[in-house]
């Protein structure tokens, strides 16, 4: 019997360490420590209901477990074989407890390839990875295929880069393999700068060896003996697990000289990012690894010709690498049978925002947004109305109701005015103001622009100022035209991908939510009630019973009135925090 405890960053923040300890002591108290193993694994994905505990072999899925629940699970489930109902997932539609994750709406449509081991193995134990076919793919490649044959398998599989661009991976490897040099490099891009996307981190935390193995395969294909992983310093747990994994792989002779006695040598080192979004761009990333400011440079030359230290360098994303070993073991035909015509396989998405089931999901390409948001995601939080879903992070756009049924793949998302990006999916409801959302992304871009080229450095700042003006009710119709024109100029003239895509959130909200812009500009109203400058909190004297709840909770004492008499708000003092509205039980306070 095994007890698996999720040890992803989210669940650890809510005490999974203490849960593991508690299980161990409870088991020991019942003399069961040798019969039941407690394992801390990577992320199960269902972060909304974390911390998650899974009991094998019957695959029971407990949600929101607290350390003090360990005793009951051991006593009831482990010893008496009775499931602890109160900790099982409650299906919101059927109002029934579901014990096997296979039958949960959240998991039913998922296919796990990149995340195959996340939540199943202890990421700090190489033997568990090996037991699930780990390091078989590199063995197969080294003994059965030459580099070109391996590249051909990847090409045939149709795998495209998961870092955002969607460039065919096999082709990228082939180009790097043909450039002659005394030294070449394989680089894994683990910078994951899109705020709200955390799939790469989960792969590295939950299954670090799958990336190391794939990097070795890439090294064999392109003729490189050195691998570098560029990882954000903000991911301490992923860094720790990678270090453990690298040390174990070296000890087993799976990294280092003469791997498996085949004469092939490959080793991996870590390089740390230091908090700059633009460093996810591959040329900037390479400069950062060289110890410089992470500023992008023009392509060509592409990294495949002249990259790290001027040598041919192949850069791939974490999730791209995580797909490689299954392709080698199960074949290109198997992989290309999943997905759409031009986008094969699966994609991992980080579902977040106003959605019931926040978490990490892996779904076949071609699934619709509707299936993702309403079946897997369980719909919108608090029964609110769906308004938009943002994909592609700061480079992407906001999609609406009318896009819900298009099959998700690289090309369809671009056609719809957004992009795949790294896989962040932020769901918004009726309370979100789309002008503010565009402003939020521009704020991000302005802060993260490296400043090297004028269109991005200055243009985005102007875009931000225009949006700010509109959210304050000072915008004009001319400003709306200016937004559109300036956006197009920035897209056409910026040096790197950051600037070339930064106006997308503005353009897509202008296209899909023009009415909302008009409301801000012409009526001086924010329909979602988000823009502080455009709203006023008022108490309806008819509805107010004088309970004083609002006045007691106002942080700035802006509310006055006698007990049992209607209260009123002094709008000169009010900081529009909204605390009073939440506290009023009589719905007497509204935003005008």
């Amino acid at each position: 019997m095994h007890i698996l405890v999720c040890g992803g960053t989210g669940c650890r923040a809510s005490s999974s360490d203490a849960i593991v300890e508690k299980f161990k002591s409870e088991l020991a108290a019942n003399n069961l420590e040798n019969d039941v193993q407690v394992i801390m694994t990577g992320c199960f994905g269902f972060c909304e209901k974390g911390p998650i505990v899974k009991v094998l072999p019957d695959n029971t899925f407990y949600t929101q477990v607290k350390p003090e629940d360990a005793a009951e699970i051991v006593k009831e489930h482990v010893i008496k074989g009775r499931k602890v109902n109160r900790l099982l997932y409650l299906d919101p539609a059927k109002k029934e407890h579901v014990s096997d994750s296979k039958h949960m709406g959240f998991y039913r449509k998922q296919i796990r390839i990149a995340l195959r081991n996340c939540g199943f193995i202890n990421p700090e134990n190489i033997d568990e990875y090996i037991a699930r076919d780990g390091y078989q793919a590199i063995g197969k490649v080294l003994t059965e295929f030459d580099p070109q044959q391996t590249i051909d398998i990847i090409k045939k599989s149709g795998l495209r880069g998961r870092g955002g661009g969607g460039f065919p991976t096999g082709l990228k490897w082939e180009i790097a393999s043909k450039n002659k040099a005394d030294q070449k490099y394989v680089v894994c891009n683990a910078d994951e700068g899109d705020p709200g996307a955390f799939m790469d981190r989960s792969v590295l935390e939950g299954d670090p060896h799958s990336v190391l193995e794939a990097m070795s395969i890439c090294g064999y294909c392109i003729g490189a003996s050195k691998g570098l992983i560029y990882i954000r310093a903000e991911y301490p747990l992923a860094i720790k697990r990678l270090k453990v994994a690298i040390a174990q792989a070296r000890e087993y002779g799976l990294l280092g000289n003469d791997i498996m006695g085949t004469g092939f040598s490959f080793d991996v080192e870590l390089r740390y990012g230091a908090g700059a979004f633009v460093c996810g761009e591959e040329t900037a990333l390479i400069h950062s690894m060289e110890g410089l400011r992470g500023e992008p440079t023009n392509k060509p030359p592409f990294p495949a010709e002249s990259g790290y230290m001027g040598k041919p360098t192949n850069v791939n994303n974490v999730e791209t690498f995580a797909n490689v070993c299954p392709i080698i073991l199960k074949g290109a035909d198997w992989y290309s049978s999943i997905g759409t015509e031009k986008s094969k396989g699966t994609k991992v998405f980080a579902l977040a925002g106003k959605i019931n089931n926040v978490g990490l999901i892996e779904v076949p390409m071609g699934i619709t947004l509707r299936e993702v948001i309403f079946e897997i995601g369980g719909g919108i939080k608090n029964g609110k109305k769906f308004k938009a879903v943002q994909t592609g992070g700061p480079s992407g756009g906001c999609l609406t109701e009318k896009h819900l049924d298009i099959p998700i793949d690289f090309d369809n998302l671009i056609a719809a005015g957004s992009m795949m990006g790294s896989g962040g999916m932020i769901v918004m409801d009726e309370d979100d103001c789309m002008v503010s959302v565009a402003k939020f992304y521009l704020d991000f871009t302005v802060e993260e622009s490296c400043g090297k080229c004028a269109p991005c450095r200055i243009g985005n700042k102007r875009l931000y100022e225009l949006l700010d003006k509109i959210t304050k009710g000072e915008g004009t119709m001319d400003d709306l035209d200016r937004l559109r024109n300036l956006s197009k100029v920035i897209k056409d003239t910026a040096l790197c991908g950051l600037g070339q895509t930064s106006p997308n959130p503005v353009l897509s909200t202008l296209d899909n939510f023009y009415d909302e812009y008009l409301a801000h500009v012409q009526d001086k109203k924010c329909p979602a009630g988000k823009c502080k400058a455009l709203m006023k909190y008022v108490i309806d004297p008819e509805a107010c019973v004088g309970c004083t709840a609002c006045a007691r909770n106002c942080p700035v004492n802006a509310i006055s009135g006698e007990r049992k008499k209607p209260h009123s708000i002094n709008t000169a003092i009010c900081i529009k925090c909204g605390a009073c509205i939440e506290k009023c039980k009589f719905d007497a306070i509204s935003i005008k």
């Binding site: 705020p195 989960s202 979004f277 110890g291 977040a352 925002g353 106003k354």
Partner: protein
Amino acid sequence: MSHVKVELKPEQVTKIKEICKSFNNNPGELINVLHQTQGAFGYLPAEVQEVVAAELGIPVAKVYGVVTFYSFFTMLPKGKHPISVCTGTACYVRGAEKVLDEFKRILEVKVGESTPDGKFSLNCLRCVGACGLAPVVLVGDKVYGRVSPDGVKDILNEYAD
């Protein structure tokens, strides 16, 4: 910005030199050197940058350029309890701004500043990847999830001593 001159003690200079040496004084390792140096000192004032530059044999301007480029590096000391409010997209749509406003209001500081007694400093950070717990606040290494403006007081009270 007024600049307080920092006097480095001889053992601190030795420590920086040791860090540089552990990377063979290789200028290509500048970012790793700065990571470790900041780990040891808490921040990277100009005086520290001067020692690093001399050891790696590069201009101070280059070190300064790198320090100011990356948001992870700071030239100002952090508070005893550094507070970071996540302003990633997931936290933003779940109300991080209101939480941040409440911290600003109670502590009477702007983002990037410390309280006069040096107890708290307030910063924003982009996504720790615990989006399921949004909005997220970090105090030191401790993660607080699903923070509401009301809960800000309670968090600060934990550090009242």
